[in-house]
C-alpha cells in the first residue's frame, strides 16, 4: 500500500494550482473547436477557419446538400460525403424532383448567376446571369447588374422559382411616393421555365419597397390538383416606416399572372400566415404540404423552430379581411420544437420524420437533426429526444440546405 507524506501532498496541490493557473492564463480547456466535441463521423475537409469538418453517419436517410466555404457538398446517411462544386461560391442548392439537376446560385462581386449542373456531374449551365455594368445617367450612377437567389423547383420540375431584382428599373409611377423616383432594389419572387430560361420571367410575388424584399420561396408540395401555392418570407415596414414587419406569407403562384393589374408591391398577392408583431422567417413545407416549419426570433439572442398547420382556401382573395383573419388562425396552433441562440434554415426530411437545420454552437454554424413526431389527436408536432449534431467544424450559415430521398 502506498503512503504519502505531507510534502508530497503539498507538492501535488501546488502543481495542481500551478496547472490550473497556467491553464486559465492560456485559455486551455476552453475548447471552441467543436470538432473534438462533435459527433463521431467522417472528416470530409478542413474549412477556411482551419477546422476539420466532420459528418456523423447513420443518422438519417437520403442525401443532404449543403455548402462549406460556399463549395457544394452532398452527404448521405451512410457513405462518405462528396464535394460536387469547388470554388464556385455556391449558395442555396436545390435538386429537381426527378433528381437529375441541381440548381444553385453562383455569387460574384456585384451580381449572381442562377445556374444548374447535372446531379451526376457535368458542366455548369448558366440559366440567368446577373452580369452587367455601371453607367452614368445624367449624373446619377446606375447599373445593369442583377441579383438572383434561392432557387426552388416546381412540383413537376418544369419551372424554377427564384428571387431577383429584375424589376429594379421598373418605375411604379402609379404608386407615387418613393416608387416614382427610386430604383426597386428589393428582391421579388420570379419564375422561369427550366428548359427555356431566356423566356420572360414571371413575377410570382411582389416585395415591399425598402426592406430588402422577399426570401425563402418554395412551392407547396403534394397538392397537385389544387391551385399552386408558394410560401415565403415577406420583409416590410409598418405604416410609420419605422418598425420592421417580417412575416411568413402564402400566395397563389398564378395570381399575378392570371390577374394582371390587380396586384402590386402595395397590394400583394400574398396573405400573411404569421402576425406582424413577431418576426417569423424561413418557412419550409412538410413533404405532405400540410405543415410549415419556420423560425421565430424570440429575442435578439434566441431563435426557435416552430411547426404550424397550413390554412386552406386563403389565397384566392388575399387582401380580404376574412381571408387574412382565416390565414392567421393556424399560427396559434404552432408547436414549439426547439430553441437556440441562432437557429435557421430548417428543411424537412422526405419522410417528414426529421428536420435538418443550422444551429450556432461553439462559435460555429453546423447542421443538426431534430426527430419529429406528429400527434394526430392534438394535431401537434413535437421533438423526439434531443437534437443531434450532424456536422461539426463549421459549415456556411447563410446557405439553405436541401434534402432528397
Amino acid at each position: 500500500m502506498k503512503s504519502y507524506n505531507t510534502t508530497t501532498i503539498g507538492k501535488s496541490l501546488l502543481l495542481l494550482l500551478l496547472a490550473l493557473s497556467v491553464q486559465g492564463c492560456l485559455g486551455i480547456g476552453n475548447n471552441n473547436n467543436s470538432s473534438s466535441n462533435g459527433p463521431v463521423g467522417n472528416t470530409i475537409t478542413t474549412n477556411s477557419s482551419g477546422n476539420k469538418v466532420s459528418v456523423a453517419q447513420n443518422l438519417f436517410k437520403g442525401k443532404i446538400y449543403f455548402t462549406i466555404d460556399h463549395n457544394l457538398w452532398v452527404t448521405d446517411g451512410s457513405s462518405a460525403s462528396r464535394e460536387l462544386i469547388h470554388g464556385g461560391n455556391v449558395y442555396d442548392p436545390a435538386v429537381s424532383p426527378d433528381g437529375k439537376w441541381i440548381a444553385f446560385i453562383a455569387s460574384f462581386k456585384d451580381f449572381t448567376n442562377l445556374a444548374a449542373i447535372p446531379a451526376g456531374g457535368g458542366p455548369v449551365h448558366i440559366l440567368l446571369s446577373g452580369y452587367g455594368h455601371f453607367y452614368n445617367d445624367t449624373g446619377i450612377i446606375k447599373n445593369t447588374y442583377h441579383w438572383f437567389a434561392q432557387p426552388a423547383w416546381s412540383l413537376d420540375g418544369t419551372h424554377l422559382l427564384f428571387l431577383s431584382d429584375l424589376q429594379k428599373d421598373f418605375v411604379w409611377y402609379t404608386l407615387g411616393g418613393v416608387f416614382k423616383n427610386s430604383p426597386f432594389l428589393d428582391l421579388q419572387v420570379f419564375s422561369i421555365p427550366f428548359n427555356n430560361p431566356s423566356a420572360q420571367p414571371q413575377v410570382i410575388a411582389y416585395a415591399s419597397y425598402g426592406d430588402g424584399g422577399d426570401r425563402d420561396p418554395s412551392y407547396r408540395p403534394a397538392h397537385p390538383n389544387q391551385t399552386p401555392e408558394i410560401v415565403y418570407t415577406h420583409y416590410a415596414y409598418d405604416q410609420t416606416g419605422t418598425q420592421q414587419v417580417i412575416q411568413v406569407f402564402l400566395a397563389d403562384a398564378t395570381a399575378i399572372a392570371n390577374h394582371p393589374y390587380t396586384y402590386s408591391p402595395v397590394s400583394d398577392s400574398g396573405v400573411p400566415l404569421t402576425p406582424g408583431s413577431v418576426q417569423n422567417i424561413e418557412p419550409a413545407f412538410s413533404p405532405d404540404g400540410n405543415a410549415i416549419v419556420y423560425v421565430r426570433r424570440d429575442t435578439s439572442n434566441q431563435m426557435s423552430l416552430y411547426v404550424m398547420p397550413v390554412p386552406e382556401g386563403v389565397t384566392a382573395d388575399p387582401n380580404s379581411p376574412t381571408a387574412e383573419q382565416k390565414a392567421l388562425q393556424p399560427y396559434n396552433k404552432s408547436s414549439h420544437i426547439l430553441s437556440g441562440q441562432y437557429v435557421s434554415q430548417p428543411v424537412w426530411s422526405p419522410d417528414g420524420k426529421q428536420i435538418v437545420y443550422i444551429s450556432y454552437n461553439n462559435s460555429e454554424f453546423d447542421l443538426w437533426l431534430a426527430n419529429i413526431s406528429y400527434n394526430a389527436k392534438t394535431s401537434a408536432y413535437s421533438l423526439q429526444g434531443n437534437p443531434i449534431q450532424l456536422t461539426s467544424g463549421g459549415i456556411d450559415g447563410d446557405s439553405r440546405p436541401f434534402w432528397t430521398p
Partner: protein
C-alpha cells in the same frame, strides 16, 4: 514533548528543490486532530517550538554526501483511536494549527522533520512568485510587443500650416475634458493600395465638439464631396484635402472654410477595421433583414483605380459569419433601411456585440500583438493614450439623446455637376453658417468661405490667424437632427469590461467611432 521525526518513504533521490522544500518545513508543528492544519498564515519569524533535533545543520544538499535513508516499511494509516491516544505537543496560546497526529502515511515512533513554513504558506509564496512572474511577463510583453505600436498610434503631432490657429495654445495644458471647448477632427480613409505613396482620400470628415463645462457634445458630418476651396489649392472636393496635404491641410481647410479651430485629430484607415475583424476570426451575426445597396462605395480593395467607384451589396438575412470586409459592408451601408441610421446603428451594435464577445475571450491575449499591428498604421491621433481613454470613457457616459448632430446633406447642400463634369455637393452657406455658429460657439467667427477667389484665399487666411470667439455652450437647435437618428456612441463601445487590454479597447473604440460614422459624410 517532542514529536518524533519521521523520515519519508524511500524513493528516488530528491532534487535540490524538493530538499529545500522539505527544509522549509522544519519547525512546523503537527496539527491538532480537531483542527484544520491550515488555519491562518503564521507570523513571519515565529520561533519554532521544537528545533529540529536530527537536522541541526542546514547543510547544502549534496546527493553524494547524503545517502538515501534505509528503506522503511509503509505503514497503514492510524485509526482515529490511535490518534486520540497519541501524545500532543504543548500548544502555546494563539499558535495556529498546532497539535495533531503525524501526517497520513508516516509511521509513528520515528523522528520527524520540523517545517518552518506550512505547506499552505509555501503554496501562497509560490503563487505570489508566480504572480510576480506573470505581472513581470505582462509588463515585458507589453513593452516588447505593444508599446511600440501604441507609440506609433498616439501622440502623432502634425505641424500646423500657416494660418491654422492652434486652439491648444490657449488651453495652458488643460485636461482634454476640462477648460475651454475641444474640437476633434475625425478623418476616415480607405487605405488600400490604389493610391500611390499613401495619398489617401479622407472619405469621412467629422468634427466632434465637446464643451467640458456643460458636457454638451455635437457632431458635424461634412460630405466628402463638398466642393470647397482648399487653401492654396483652389476648388476641390473636401476628401481631396487629405490626399493633397494630409491632416495639416484637412485641419486648415476646416478652419479656413468654416471657422472651426481643431484641437486634435484622429485618422482611421478602413483597412484597419477589416484587419481587426479578420484577426479575431470574423464575427457571427443575425442579419435582421436583407441588405441591398446599389451604390456602396467601392473604396476598399478596389484595384481599378477609380476612386469614386461603387459596388453592389446583397447581404442575406439570418445568422451568418462575416469576414472583415463583409462586416465593414454590413455596418457601413446606409441605403438598406427605410429608417436610415436607425437600422445602421442596430447593425453596428450587432457587430460590436459580436466583436466584444471575441475580445473578452482570454485567448485574445495571444492576439494582442496582431491587433496592435492591425491598428498600427491605420489609426493615428495627436492625442495621448490617456486623452483617448478619458475621451472614450466620457463618450460611454453620455446620454445618446443629448448628442446634437448635424449632417450637412440636404437641405444644407445640393448635388450638382462642375463645369468639368465632376459630380459634387454644393454647400448652402446661408443655411450652414448660423448652425455652425450655434454648434461650435463661434459667434461671428463662423464662416462659409468656400469659394476659391483672391479675396477668399487671402482674407480667409488672414481671418484664420485671428483668435476665435470665446466658446459658448451648445444651444439646442430644432434644425439639428436628433441624436437618436444616428448611431449611439455610448453603445458603440467595446469597453465596459474590466480589462481595457492596455488601452487597446479604447483605441478600437476610437476606430469604430470613425468607421461607423464615416458613411454619413460619404453618402449624404
Amino acid at each position: 514533548m517532542k514529536q518524533p521525526v519521521v523520515n519519508g518513504p524511500a524513493g528516488p533521490a530528491r532534487s535540490a528543490d524538493s530538499l529545500q522544500s522539505q527544509r522549509l518545513a522544519y519547525g512546523q508543528v503537527p496539527p491538532s486532530p480537531n483542527q484544520s492544519a491550515i488555519t491562518s498564515f503564521p507570523r513571519m519569524g515565529a520561533t519554532p517550538q521544537t528545533p529540529p533535533p536530527q537536522n541541526p545543520g542546514m547543510q547544502p544538499y549534496s546527493p553524494a554526501s547524503r545517502p538515501n535513508p534505509p528503506p522503511q516499511p509503509y505503514m497503514a494509516p492510524m485509526s482515529m483511536a490511535a490518534y486520540s491516544r497519541a501524545p500532543l505537543a504543548p500548544m502555546p496560546p494563539g499558535y495556529p494549527g498546532v497539535g495533531g497526529p503525524p501526517p497520513f502515511g508516516q509511521p509513528p515512533g520515528k523522528e520527524r522533520k520540523k517545517r518552518r513554513f506550512p505547506i499552505w504558506a509555501r503554496v501562497a509564496v509560490s503563487l505570489f512568485l508566480l504572480l510576480l512572474v506573470v505581472v513581470g511577463g505582462l509588463a515585458g510583453y507589453y513593452y516588447f510587443n505593444l508599446a511600440t505600436p501604441v507609440s506609433h498610434i498616439v501622440g502623432q503631432q502634425v505641424t500646423r500650416l500657416k494660418g491654422d490657429e492652434d486652439p491648444n495654445a490657449s488651453r495652458n495644458g488643460a485636461d482634454i475634458l476640462s477648460g475651454p471647448r475641444v474640437n476633434i477632427l475625425l478623418l476616415g480613409s480607405d487605405t488600400d493600395q490604389k493610391f500611390a505613396n499613401g495619398q489617401y482620400l479622407a472619405q469621412s470628415d467629422i468634427v466632434i465638439t465637446i464643451d467640458p463645462a456643460t458636457r454638451k457634445v455635437g457632431m458635424l458630418s461634412i460630405p466628402r464631396d463638398f466642393y470647397i476651396n482648399l487653401p492654396g489649392g483652389g476648388m476641390h472636393k473636401l476628401d481631396e484635402a487629405y490626399g493633397l496635404g494630409g491632416v495639416a491641410l484637412s485641419r486648415l481647410t476646416i478652419f479656413q472654410d468654416f471657422g472651426i479651430p481643431i484641437n486634435y485629430y484622429a485618422w482611421v484607415g478602413l483597412d484597419g477595421f477589416i484587419k481587426v475583424i479578420d484577426t479575431v476570426g470574423g464575427v457571427d451575426v443575425d442579419a435582421l433583414h436583407p441588405i441591398t445597396d446599389d451604390n456602396y462605395p467601392d473604396d476598399v480593395g478596389n484595384k481599378t483605380g477609380d476612386i469614386n467607384a461603387y459596388k453592389r451589396l446583397y447581404i442575406t438575412p439570418g445568422p451568418q459569419h462575416l469576414s472583415g470586409p463583409e462586416a465593414l459592408e454590413y455596418v457601413r451601408s446606409r441605403h438598406a433601411d427605410l429608417v436610415g441610421d436607425f437600422g445602421r446603428s442596430a447593425r453596428q451594435q450587432q457587430v460590436l456585440s459580436a466583436l466584444k464577445t471575441k475580445l473578452n475571450n482570454p485567448a485574445i491575449i495571444g492576439k494582442l500583438p496582431e491587433i496592435s499591428n492591425d491598428l498600427n498604421g491605420y489609426v493615428k491621433t495627436d492625442m495621448q493614450l490617456t486623452d483617448v481613454l478619458k475621451l472614450l470613457n466620457f463618450a460611454r457616459s453620455l446620454d445618446p439623446n443629448s448628442i446634437q448632430r448635424l449632417i450637412l446633406g440636404p437641405p444644407y447642400s445640393a448635388s450638382g455637376v462642375t463645369p468639368t463634369g465632376e459630380s459634387v455637393v454644393y454647400p448652402d452657406c446661408t443655411k450652414i453658417t448660423p448652425l455652425l455658429a450655434q454648434m461650435f460657439g463661434l459667434g461671428n467667427n463662423a464662416r462659409c468661405n468656400i469659394q476659391a477667389n483672391s479675396n477668399n484665399n487671402t482674407s480667409s487666411l488672414a481671418s484664420a490667424s485671428q483668435p476665435s470667439a470665446t466658446p459658448k455652450a451648445i444651444p439646442a437647435a430644432s434644425t439639428w437632427q436628433a441624436a437618436s437618428q444616428v448611431a449611439d456612441i455610448g453603445a458603440m463601445s467595446i469597453g465596459g469590461s474590466s480589462d481595457n487590454l492596455f488601452g487597446f479597447h479604447s483605441l478600437l473604440d476610437l476606430m469604430f467611432m470613425v468607421v461607423f460614422e464615416s458613411p454619413d459624410a460619404m453618402q449624404v
